[in-house]
């Protein structure tokens, strides 16, 4: 982390960039938050550890409009989102300096909570260079957990350790993938329709429409969103009618179909823990099966499958009932 801070300070000092987007310490040791850094002394609060899961590429939409260059710290999977934003002409590449930061999987504090770790005072072993278990110092004493057991679900289906777009890379990355990406989707597909419906109904009825999934999603970058209404302030985010309320997640998944890089931010930020990535992954799986393998954000020139066609595409009637 020190190497990264030194390099960022250097970039600020020599005027290559005028601001940096990174993470600063949160009020708890496990919730760092995205932040702007403009002066050398701001870096006292800079942090980059295992809990820095936030994908900062979306912040570049606004930051790249500002005067001067902005440096942004992107993990390997975040660079896919950034590429996709370039593809959609949403960010200005000239105004961006991409620092590829190393990653050995990001952590999910909910996993620790589920394992019964409470009253956390401090955490060690989450450093980006380290290797080994995570130790929690809690009010009930010291608790240990293996790094991979604490990892976010999305890190178990890692997209690889290579940054697809960067100006420079600082630190080593590791491919943490140890699960099949479509395992969960296939599991649901194998259920009976009644079970599937019951599963989604129970998951989706937890939704409180906080819009966190939409706000964090790098593919949801429309200036005017279909889910906004004509009222002002926070009322603008209230649902317009019951239709939106019910179909929000299907519609949102469809809007990002073919553009979703499967960064997993939606599931990470959901306060209710709804596995929203299951929708996006289903679309990715279908697109792969129907129209050939496609990874959004891998190639900024590639045509999105939904804005493309071939003369002998699959008929919709053949798309359903494949499992029967």
């Amino acid at each position: 982390m020190q190497e990264l801070i030194n390099r960022l300070k250097e970039l600020l000092a020599d005027g290559t960039v005028v601001r940096v987007i990174g993470w600063k310490k949160g009020d708890m040791p496990y919730n760092p938050e995205p932040a702007y850094f403009e002066k050398a002394e701001d870096f006292d609060n800079f942090v980059y550890d295992g809990f820095c899961g936030a994908n900062l590429s979306k912040m570049m939409i606004e930051a790249a409009k500002l005067e001067g260059k902005t440096a942004v710290c992107l993990k390997p999977c975040d660079t896919y989102s950034f590429n996709q934003l370039i593809r959609e002409h949403r960010v200005n590449r000239e105004n961006t300096y991409i620092i590829g930061v190393g990653c050995r999987g990001k952590l999910d504090i909910e996993k620790a909570r589920k394992a019964g770790i409470k009253g956390i005072k401090s955490v060690s072993g989450v450093d980006i260079e380290g290797d080994g278990d995570v130790t929690f110092d809690t009010i009930y004493g010291e608790k240990k957990m293996a790094y991979s057991d604490l990892m976010l679900d999305r890190c178990h289906v890692c997209k690889g350790k290579d940054h697809v777009i960067f100006d420079e890379v600082i630190g080593e990355s590791k491919d943490t993938g140890d699960k099949d990406r479509f395992e969960d989707v296939i599991k649901i597909e194998k259920m009976t329709p009644e079970e599937r419906f019951a599963f989604f109904k129970s998951e989706l009825s937890k939704c409180i429409r906080c819009n966190a999934c939409r706000n964090v999603c790098p593919a949801c970058s429309c200036r005017k969103c279909v889910f906004d209404n004509t009222k002002f302030d926070s009322q603008q985010k209230a649902n317009v009618d019951s239709f939106e309320e019910k179909m929000f997640h299907i519609i949102r998944a469809f809007h990002v179909a073919g553009r979703c890089t499967d960064c997993g931010e939606c599931s990470r930020v959901c306060p209710e823990g709804i596995p929203l990535h299951l929708f996006n992954r289903k679309f990715i799986k279908d697109i792969d099966e129907f129209y050939g393998e496609f990874q959004a954000g891998k190639d900024p020139e590639a045509q999105s499958p939904l804005t493309d066609f071939t003369f002998d595409d699959l008929e919709p009637k053949d798309a359903v009932g494949r499992g029967e």
């Binding site: 129209y291 939904l306 066609f309 053949d318 798309a319």
Partner: protein, 148 residues
């Protein structure tokens, strides 16, 4: 007063999105050829099957439709050259997603039907209506988040 036996029978509400250039004219032809199709089918004219936003389909279901059918020109015959090719991809993905969520897959259908195919139009609608009737009322999509 006891309800008439006839009125007890379930009549599905079916929304048909018909392309102005082919299926809508096909429906016209079915009418002028005196080929019958069920009155449960409510036709909405769209300029092209590519105009059908997946949201239209979801909204129709949410508002109480029991089945939705999209009729467009045969691939290659689109009035705007390529509209139905895009529609084909979209609908394939949407229907697959609805099936994934546990919605009965007989409730949605895409049929390519030209202006000369009045007989096919009437046959398709009869078939689809029977299918939806056998599935019964659409409960699942109307109540996805247990709000009602």
């Amino acid at each position: 007063m006891p309800m008439n036996e006839e009125n007890k029978e379930f009549r599905p509400l079916i929304v048909a999105f018909c392309c102005n250039w082919c299926s809508y004219a096909g429906a016209d032809l079915a009418g002028s050829s005196r080929l019958s199709y069920p009155a449960d089918v409510k036709i909405i004219r769209v300029p092209c099957s590519g105009r059908v936003n997946p949201m239209f389909i979801l909204r129709a279901f949410e508002r109480g439709a029991d089945g939705v059918i999209i009729c467009g020109c045969h691939p290659g015959d689109c009035h705007y050259s390529t509209g139905n090719y895009y529609a084909r991809r979209r609908m394939a993905l949407l229907f697959s997603m609805l099936e994934y969520m546990g919605i009965e897959n007989g409730r949605t259908r895409v049929e390519w039907c030209s202006a000369a195919e009045g007989a096919k139009f009437s046959k398709t609608m009869n078939e689809f209506c029977e299918k939806v009737k056998s599935l019964g009322q659409n409960v699942r999509l109307g109540d996805l988040r247990c709000k009602n």
